[in-house]
Symmetry: C2
Subunit: 365 residues, 2 copies
Amino acid sequence: MITLMHVAAPLPADVSTPYLAVDLDVLDRNLRMMAASAAARGLALRPHAKTHKCLQVARRQMESGAVGLTVATISEAEVFAEAGFTDLFIAYPVWASSARARRLRALAEQVSLRVGVDSTEGARLLADAVRKTDVEVLVEIDSGHHRSGVQPRSAGEVAATAARHGLQVCGVFTFPGHGYGPGRRDKAAADEAEALEQAAAALDAAGVDARVRSGGSTPTASVADPGTLTEIRPGVYAFGDAQQVELGSCAWPDVALTAAATIVSKSGQRIILDAGSKVLGADQPTWATGGGRLPDYPHAHITALSEHHATAVFPEDRPAPRHGEIVRVAPNHVCSAVNLADELVIVSGGREVDRWAVAARGANT
Amino acid sequence: MITLMHVAAPLPADVSTPYLAVDLDVLDRNLRMMAASAAARGLALRPHAKTHKCLQVARRQMESGAVGLTVATISEAEVFAEAGFTDLFIAYPVWASSARARRLRALAEQVSLRVGVDSTEGARLLADAVRKTDVEVLVEIDSGHHRSGVQPRSAGEVAATAARHGLQVCGVFTFPGHGYGPGRRDKAAADEAEALEQAAAALDAAGVDARVRSGGSTPTASVADPGTLTEIRPGVYAFGDAQQVELGSCAWPDVALTAAATIVSKSGQRIILDAGSKVLGADQPTWATGGGRLPDYPHAHITALSEHHATAVFPEDRPAPRHGEIVRVAPNHVCSAVNLADELVIVSGGREVDRWAVAARGANT
């Protein structure tokens, strides 16, 4: 993404802190840049909506060239389907148990639906749950993150089982989550392409055409291999966060979402902010420098988070801001922060211009 | 708390996972035990409602002998005041900025309100914000957690400033959060008592009577010193969580709240559950054994959490449960998990008996 000179956006002071503020101009630039980057490589862009859970952001993504949305759960899909989005991919090994089967069937009748499977058991359950012409299936592959997904060589068996039960298998997908670490991006992107290539060959050997080969996280999106992949599914790129900055995926001026927090307590070089883990989320990978960052004070570190407090420490030679000042905090992982909020305060030029509901907040089922 | 033989409570299977289930009988036993323990020592019990954010739990706490509720924010206080609770303590260094002053004034007119301050600046702002006969003030003390709160010897200055501005100062409070670590409970409880004692003496020297000396976290509540403290404010004890079990504050049969999760993917001894950090919260102190625990499989460990996946690994000699099974997951920190959910599924004898709204979910301002 592009890096501009940093100009700190002022925040509205007449709203009780803590709240999540989105700089509309930065958001729109992020959406345009990723759409242009995907288009230039001939990759379909299917942004992951779990990051923003917002109808307004999803509409802007579709208007800037996305082919559809990715979601993580049936309930997220229900929210976006209800709002009129027509092309949804549940990039998750959907387990169509009795409690979910009816919902999945209704959803599949309503929109163009793709779902993930990663086991022969899951494929059989899915085939029983839905009308088979209503869904397309992608087999999930483990490309090195070791979470869900089958090994590439096993993808043919899952695809063949799904096809034998009448499901339409259209391809394979993976999440190269092991790219979330300093210096790991290129290796993860290479693993992703290799795993998808092998899995596509395994499907081919099983008599199934893998016309969709879907990958891509925000760290790896810029180096996703268009020789193998047909589609990318980044999510965080819309807002950015402290993790992405520390990983080098973006720079501070690209971070569109920050929490506005008040300094409620101060002791020397230690300040206490009223945005804690119930606002920022508690995500903190081992390589992170703290529990989030202060974009306007990059030399300060958040040394502790509790539910309603962030402790930030300033070095001895840098004056800490004063009691009562409002500062911006970039969460480590913006998806977690958004999922804690009922609404986002939309800011342009330091003025509040709108409020957007986090429509799919808490939609985990 | 009492430890019984462990009988795993079955969970309703007709609700889409993941969801948070509360065993009503265990909850009620936890509430009774803490009330009895406080009463036996002559300590007032003012449970922290940030744990449950539920009107139904708060009512049960009041019925079993609590003197009032503790909350963390003005917006939490607003939810409980609206529901008819009349005695609330905002145990936080309230910064009564313009955006908050009006709300605080309205709240103080509505209920018997206590609030925390930890600076002369904060005290002055508060005195300007509210009608001074409507609130009581407690000075927050740092007893070793090094978050908010003044040093005990500085409490007199803050109290004197508040009193000079017409506020009614009724005492001191602290949160001995440094007791959250294996083997740290007794030292933290001793620090708490010593700091409150010193602070009370500092107020006395400044001509202010510290009739309320409030402390107590769930780990330290059972050893809080009734020679010094007059009140305890535990929160987590109502539900329990994996952290409290690993700290020794309670045992598995005392854990009333668990997430019900489905095994959606499996690879050998590794299972993937559909309850991730957006259900359990991402809290993981360095001493925790993983990202939560499976109470019915204590030998398994949650080695990774992402937003919609928990990765649990079983030792080679222990068979892992099957694809599609529903298992219980105890979050590391129950306050974070509850704040992610819109409602709790209330279970008794393996049957759903009620649903309770998380009425103050997301009430952070």
